[in-house]
C-alpha cells in the first residue's frame, strides 16, 4: 500500500509545531534576517562545498530580500546540520518551488565567488575515459537518489513560493 504524505511526515517527525519536530520552519510568514542568514549558510555550503564567506551570505540575503518571496525556506534540522544531505531531498521537477529557486540563487552567488569557481570550473584536462567513468558514476548516484528526492523533495517543496501572475514580477524589475 503506498504511503501518503501524512504518514511519511509522521514517521520522520516532520510535523511542525510539536516538541519532537526536527523540522525548523525558519520564521515562515515573516522576514527574518537571522533565518535567511542560516539558510544562506546551509545552501551556499551545499553548492560550494565550503563554508561561505560573509560576502556571499550578504549577497544571498540581499538576493532573497530583493525577490518577490522573502520567506525563509523550510529546511529539516538534519540538513541544517549536514548540508550535503540536501542532495537526498532536492525537489525533482519543481523548478518554481521555493527551495529550488533558493538553490538557483545560491548557485548564482557561488559561481561569482572564488570558492564556487574553484568548485565548478577547475577540472582541467582529463583523459576522455576518466571523464566517461566519472559521468557514469555520477549518473548512477543520481539515479539512486531519485526515489529519495521524489519523496523528501515533495516535503521540502511543500512551502511553495507565491507565483506572481503574468508579468508582475518581471515588470517590477526588482527580483
Amino acid at each position: 500500500m503506498p504511503m501518503g504524505n501524512g504518514n511519511v511526515r509522521h514517521l520522520l517527525h516532520l510535523e511542525t509545531g510539536g516538541r519532537a519536530s526536527v523540522f525548523m520552519p525558519l520564521g515562515v510568514g515573516r522576514v527574518s534576517l537571522a533565518a535567511l542568514e542560516a539558510e544562506a549558510r546551509v545552501l551556499l555550503r551545499y553548492v560550494a562545498c565550503k563554508e561561505p564567506s560573509q560576502h556571499m551570505i550578504d549577497q544571498y540575503r540581499q538576493g532573497v530580500l530583493l525577490s518577490d518571496d522573502a520567506v525563509p525556506a523550510r529546511l529539516p534540522m538534519l540538513i541544517r546540520r549536514h548540508p550535503p544531505l540536501l542532495r537526498f531531498c532536492e525537489p525533482f521537477g519543481r523548478p518554481r518551488a521555493r527551495l529550488s529557486r533558493r538553490l538557483k540563487l545560491a548557485v548564482m552567488i557561488a559561481e561569482a565567488s572564488p570558492q564556487g569557481i574553484r568548485r565548478m570550473f577547475s577540472a582541467g584536462q582529463n583523459a576522455a575515459i576518466v571523464t566517461v567513468l566519472r559521468l557514469a558514476g555520477l549518473l548512477i548516484i543520481e539515479a539512486l537518489l531519485l526515489p529519495s528526492r521524489l519523496v523528501f523533495g515533495l516535503l521540502c517543496a511543500s512551502d511553495a513560493a507565491p507565483e506572481p501572475s503574468g508579468n508582475a514580477q518581471q515588470d517590477r524589475g526588482s527580483s
Binding site: 549577497q59 548564482m108 565548478m120 577547475s122 576522455a128 559521468l135 508579468n167 517590477r172 524589475g173
Partner: protein, 563 residues
C-alpha cells in the same frame, strides 16, 4: 477622443521608439533632410560595463591576466558577474538569462504599466530604455525569403524578399555583420557586405564538420541543415561607425553584456543621428495615444519623470514602440475596440547537448558566447512548406552555471560535478517554431472615463504544437547524433508563450489594416515599422528583417514627401 490642451512640439515626422526598427527608420528620413522628432521612453545607457573587464576565463581562474596573476578579488568578481547592484540575482523565470546578467536592474520595469498592457499566460518582455531590447539582443542575423514573408498569402500586396534586398544591404553596412559566404546553406543569400566571421569554438567546429560530411547525403540534408550563424557583431572597425564600438575580443562575456560594444545596440547609433540638425529627440517620453488632428496627428504622451503631459503635432507618425505597444496605439487610433487581434510569437524549446568527442578537454581561454551555429529543419509531419523550424547552438562555457543547471534533471551537487567535468563538451540549443504555431490574442478595451484604453494579451499555442515539438525533438536527437552531439534526455524544455521574445504580425503588411508600405489604410501618414507589421513571424530571428523593413518603409516615406 478629441484633442485638447496646448501643443508643445511640432515636427514633420514623429518616430516613436529608439529600438532597432525606430533607428533604422530614422536614417533614411534624416539623410533625406526630413524634420524628424524621436520620442524615446528611455534615457542614457542602460548599463555601464567596465571596458577593461577581464575575460570570463580570467574571472573563472583558468587563465591569467596580463601580469600573469590569477584573479582573486571576491568583490570585483561579484561586480563583474552579478553587477554592483546584484542585478544578476534576479529571477527571470524562463526568459533569456541575458535579462538578468546583461541588463541593468529595472530594465524591464514599468513597461507593461506604462503601455497599459495586462497579460494572461503570456510573458511579454519590453524595455523603456534607449535602444529597447537591442540592449540584450542575441545578435543572430537571418534574412527572410518569400516563404518566410508569407508573400504568397497576400498576392500583389505581399512584401517579397526582393523588396527588402537593398535594405538588408544598407542595414548590414550600417550595423556591421560578421559571417561567411558559405552560410548560403541556410538560405541566407550571399550578397550582404560582411566582416570576417568569428572563430568557431572547438565544439561548433566539430558539429559543423560532421554535419558537412553527413550533408553529402541528400536525404539527411532534407531533414536538418546546420550552418554558421551570422551575427550583428563587429570583428573589425566599422567605417564611420559609432565611437566606442570596438571589434569582438572573444572574451566569452557576451551573456554579461559586451563591454567592447561589438554586439549591435541601436542606442549606440543615436549620437550619430544627433549630428544631423534635422534630428531631434525627447527622452523619458511614453506615447499614450495618437489622435487625428486635421490633416495630421497629435501624439499624446507622458513624461516619465514627473507625469507631465506632452503633446506633439506631426503630419506623419512612424510607430516603432515594440510590436504590442505599436499595435495598441494603432488600434486605439482606429477605434478598433473589443476585437480579438492575433499576435504571433515563436514557440520555443531549449536543450542541452553533450559532444562526446570533446570529453575531457580543458576550458577555452577565449570564446564567443552568442550563437555560433544555426539549425534549420522542416517540422516533421507538417505539410505546409513554411513549417520550418529554426534554432541556434551556443557553447556552454559562456553561459552562467546556474542557467545550465536549470537544464539538467540532476541535484545541484550532481549538476556541479557534471558541469565541472563536462562543460567544455556541452552545448545549449534553442529551437523556434514559426508564428502559426502560437495562439495569442490581443484585445483593446473601450476607453474608460479618463479616455484611456488598456490592452490585454491572452497567450497560448496551437493544439498541435506539443506534438510538433515532440516530433522535432525526435528528429533533432537523431540528426544531432549523426553530427556528433547527444541531446541529454530530460533536458528539452518548452518555454512559456512569449518568453522567447519573438513577437509580431499583429497588423501584417498587405492585410486588411496595413498596406504593403506599412501605412495604416484608414489613417494615411501613420506607418508601422516594427515587428507588428511583419507579414508573419517565421522561426528565424526576425530583428534584422524588422530593421530592413523599417529602412524600406522610411525610404518610401522619404520619397513620397520629397516628391
Amino acid at each position: 477622443m478629441t484633442p485638447s490642451g496646448p501643443v508643445l512640439h511640432q515636427a514633420e515626422i514623429v518616430v516613436i521608439g529608439t529600438g532597432p526598427a525606430g533607428v533604422s527608420a530614422c536614417w533614411p528620413l534624416v539623410e533625406a533632410g526630413r524634420d524628424v522628432l524621436v520620442l524615446d521612453a528611455g534615457h542614457g545607457p542602460t548599463k555601464n560595463l567596465a571596458p577593461d573587464r577581464p575575460s570570463l576565463a580570467i574571472l573563472r581562474g583558468h587563465a591569467r591576466d596580463g601580469a600573469g596573476r590569477h584573479f582573486q578579488d571576491e568583490e570585483l568578481l561579484g561586480n563583474h558577474l552579478l553587477g554592483a547592484d546584484l542585478a544578476g540575482l534576479r529571477d527571470v523565470k524562463d526568459h533569456s538569462p541575458k535579462l538578468r546578467t546583461a541588463a541593468a536592474r529595472g530594465f524591464t520595469a514599468g513597461y507593461l504599466a506604462a503601455n497599459r498592457i495586462t497579460t494572461e499566460n503570456f510573458s511579454l518582455v519590453g524595455a523603456l530604455a534607449q535602444g529597447g531590447l537591442s540592449n540584450v539582443w542575441g545578435a543572430g542575423v537571418s534574412l527572410y525569403d518569400d516563404v518566410d514573408l508569407g508573400a504568397a498569402a497576400y498576392g500583389a500586396e505581399g512584401v517579397r524578399a526582393q523588396d527588402l534586398a537593398g535594405s538588408y544591404r544598407r542595414v548590414a553596412e550600417r550595423i556591421g555583420i560578421s559571417g561567411a559566404e558559405t552560410d548560403e546553406r541556410l538560405g541566407d543569400g550571399t550578397s550582404l557586405p560582411m566582416q570576417p566571421p568569428i572563430a568557431l569554438s572547438a565544439q561548433a567546429s566539430h558539429l559543423l564538420s560532421r554535419s558537412g560530411r553527413r550533408g553529402q547525403n541528400a536525404r539527411q540534408n532534407a531533414h536538418m541543415i546546420l550552418g554558421r550563424t551570422r551575427n550583428a557583431v563587429l570583428t573589425r572597425e566599422l567605417p564611420a561607425g559609432p565611437a566606442g564600438r570596438n571589434p569582438c575580443t572573444q572574451d566569452n562575456m557576451c551573456m554579461w553584456g559586451c563591454a567592447k560594444r561589438a554586439v549591435y545596440c541601436s542606442a549606440d547609433e543615436l549620437p550619430l543621428l544627433r549630428r544631423h540638425r534635422n534630428f531631434r529627440e525627447l527622452s523619458n517620453i511614453v506615447a499614450t495615444a495618437i489622435l487625428r488632428d486635421g490633416d495630421g496627428y497629435l501624439v499624446e504622451a507622458v513624461d516619465r519623470r514627473d507625469g507631465a503631459p506632452i503633446r506633439v503635432q506631426a503630419r506623419n507618425i512612424v510607430l516603432a514602440a515594440g510590436a504590442v505597444p505599436s499595435t495598441r496605439l494603432a488600434l486605439q487610433l482606429l477605434e478598433h475596440f473589443e476585437v480579438d487581434v492575433r499576435l504571433q510569437s515563436s514557440p520555443a524549446v531549449s536543450f542541452a547537448m553533450l559532444i562526446p568527442a570533446m570529453l575531457g578537454q580543458p576550458l577555452a581561454s577565449e570564446g564567443f558566447a552568442l550563437a555560433q551555429l544555426t539549425i534549420r529543419c522542416h517540422v516533421p509531419g507538417a505539410d505546409r512548406p513554411d513549417a520550418l523550424a529554426f534554432g541556434s547552438v551556443f557553447g556552454a562555457e559562456g553561459v552562467s552555471a546556474a542557467d545550465l543547471m536549470a537544464q539538467l534533471p540532476l541535484t545541484r551537487a550532481g549538476a556541479i560535478s557534471f558541469i565541472r567535468h563536462l562543460v567544455s563538451s556541452l552545448a545549449i540549443g534553442l529551437v523556434y517554431l514559426p508564428g502559426e504555431y502560437s495562439d495569442n490574442r490581443l484585445r483593446l478595451s473601450r476607453p474608460d472615463e479618463a479616455g484611456l484604453s488598456a490592452m490585454s494579451i491572452r497567450g497560448g499555442v496551437r493544439s498541435d504544437t506539443p506534438a510538433a515539438f515532440k516530433a522535432l525533438g525526435r528528429l533533432m536527437t537523431w540528426q544531432m547524433l549523426r553530427c556528433g552531439g547527444v541531446i541529454l534526455p530530460g533536458s528539452m524544455r518548452q518555454m512559456s508563450p512569449g518568453a522567447e521574445v519573438h513577437y509580431g504580425a499583429s497588423l501584417p503588411m498587405g492585410g486588411a489594416m496595413v498596406s504593403k508600405a506599412g501605412e495604416l489604410r484608414a489613417a494615411p501618414g501613420v506607418f508601422i515599422v516594427d515587428g507588428a507589421s511583419l507579414p508573419r513571424v517565421a522561426a528565424k530571428h526576425h530583428t534584422f528583417t524588422m530593421m530592413a523593413n523599417a529602412d524600406r518603409i522610411a525610404l518610401h516615406l522619404a520619397a513620397r514627401l520629397g516628391a
